[in-house]
Symmetry: C2
Subunit: 314 residues, 2 copies
């Protein structure tokens, strides 16, 4: 295509998309046949001169979703559009909404849903509508918060999802990470705790997020880890955590000793689930999202456009 045709295709596109003229009218205006106009418009599209965006908080990027399914072997992918987003919070909110939508539309409806906790999942729970399902019971799959001011979001998340879904929540009454291995083993052998974990293993579906390995981690905020602990994990190759367990870029446990002191489903147990929905959004989570997808921790990913493109780049 020569220079002249390129310019003509732009003129034609202006008249077609901005002025709503028919290809025939454009032909008369530019002294071309309408077939030529059609071809010019096709070329303009094909060469990427025409960008069509859907500006809406609920807009998704289906082509990217397809690529994720095909190139990353996911059973399903939900990618929310970043078009018109102004803040990281807004992106997080859009992603949480999309996850809520996905859960609501899920068929068959899971009888038991295993959930982790964190800022993202809390938001998902808030976006779910009352009556999003009937009779969905929820079970926590890893130890919860309790130490700090914002105590209770872990419990609140599970309870909200269950209540709005017309079912009950089963909480895992344990800290996320214990100081001593012996204590952890003692807790896990407790009848109640062991029962909850058993129930978690048998869940029909899992819903979880992932945290970045940096100082904004919920584990630091909750007092389970210190800044120094996280720095050390990063040194060892950690890119983030899933259900409280820190992994490297390949999805392997970074610190087995720490992992042994962490209460809840192990990553291998998590991988046993048939439906494993990860909800991960935001720039800071690109590395951990990559690890989660590569190592097959999730079978379904709900994420934002930028993160999805990052996954497809590598």
């Amino acid at each position: 295509m020569d220079e002249t045709d390129e310019l003509l295709s732009i003129r034609a596109a202006e008249l077609y998309y901005e002025e709503n003229k028919t290809q025939d009218e454009i032909g008369q205006a530019l002294r071309l046949t309408r077939w030529k106009v059609g071809r010019l418009l096709a070329q303009a599209k094909q060469r990427g001169f025409i960008r069509i965006e859907i500006l809406h908080p609920r807009a998704r990027r289906l082509p990217i979703e397809r690529r994720l399914r095909e190139e990353r072997g996911l059973d399903d992918a939900i990618v929310v559009s970043s078009a018109g987003v102004n803040s990281p919070d807004e992106l997080q909110s859009r992603t949480a909404q999309a996850a809520a939508d996905y859960l609501t539309a899920l068929r068959p409806v899971p009888r038991t849903l295993g959930v982790s906790w964190g800022r993202t999942l809390f938001e998902v729970s808030q976006h779910l509508r009352n009556g999003w399902a009937t009779g969905v019971n929820v079970v926590q799959i890893n130890g919860g918060v309790s130490l700090n001011r914002r105590a209770g979001t872990a419990a609140a998340t599970a309870v909200a999802i269950a209540q709005k879904g017309g079912g009950n929540a089963t909480l895992l009454p344990s800290p996320a990470i214990l100081e001593h291995l012996a204590t952890k083993q003692a807790i896990e052998s407790d009848r109640v705790v062991a029962g909850v974990i058993e129930l978690a293993r048998s869940a029909d579906a899992y819903l979880f997020s992932a945290g970045p390995a940096d100082h904004t981690s919920v584990h630091i905020e909750s007092g389970y880890l210190t800044d120094a602990d996280v720095d050390l994990l990063v040194q060892k190759g950690a890119v983030g955590d899933v259900v409280g367990r820190y992994i490297d870029a390949d999805g392997n446990i970074v610190d087995p000793a720490l992992d042994a002191r962490t209460v809840g489903l192990t990553l291998d147990e998590l991988r046993e689930g048939r439906l494993r929905i990860a909800v991960i959004a935001g720039r800071s989570k690109h590395p951990v999202a990559d690890a989660v997808v590569r190592s097959g921790l999730c079978s379904v990913l709900v994420t934002d456009e930028a993160t999805a493109l990052h996954l497809l780049d590598g």
Copy 2:
């Protein structure tokens, strides 16, 4: 339109614009009739959920051009798109290119074209193609630079436009602003100078830009004015200059004494021209662009999208 329909219209838009499905196929996928799908898509468009942009350096915004013509009474308007622009320089370049295109397409071809000088017009001259016209003579309409290192762009601009247009340039051999009124009067009564100005008055068309009233002004760079001079003009209400003459927001001369020492066409003489093309781009020129358009100094405006929208806001 209720919540559900809004969501459906977004789903439909995704399938239509991103997946290239027909409305019929979308209907099957979403369990709607194809007419409903058509209506949803129409609503999505009408409510502004669909944004279509033409990404190309030569892309224009025809709807904005029309509004400028209708709401600001311009004979013509050329508005270049800012979509995908990363730097002010790029915007300036696009606008200059558009001005060059406009000149090239101009019918009837002006026999004599009066031009001012400055960064913008120099760029226009560089964007013109050899042979953009045949037999277009160029005459300078205001005094030129000569004092500083980058001397000669004023002359270079006029000469380039003339040469590429197969005609000759007539330069105005005078400084832009003189220190004393008497000198200015003496220069203007010089046979040659008077002849050039007479020729300028009779030009078929004028092409000029405008400068901002700030320290980046070409008049400071060229040594005709000092920072302090400009500060004073701003205090008196100056928003910028046209052919070396500083105007306020209403297009009136800010400092008559200074104006009397400025060589070239007066603003009233400029306004006599039937075809007066102003080329003005960039954030810093919004105020002066506004003044130029409001006071009818130009009959045709070539500008960028942001500047155009600023003009339409007020």
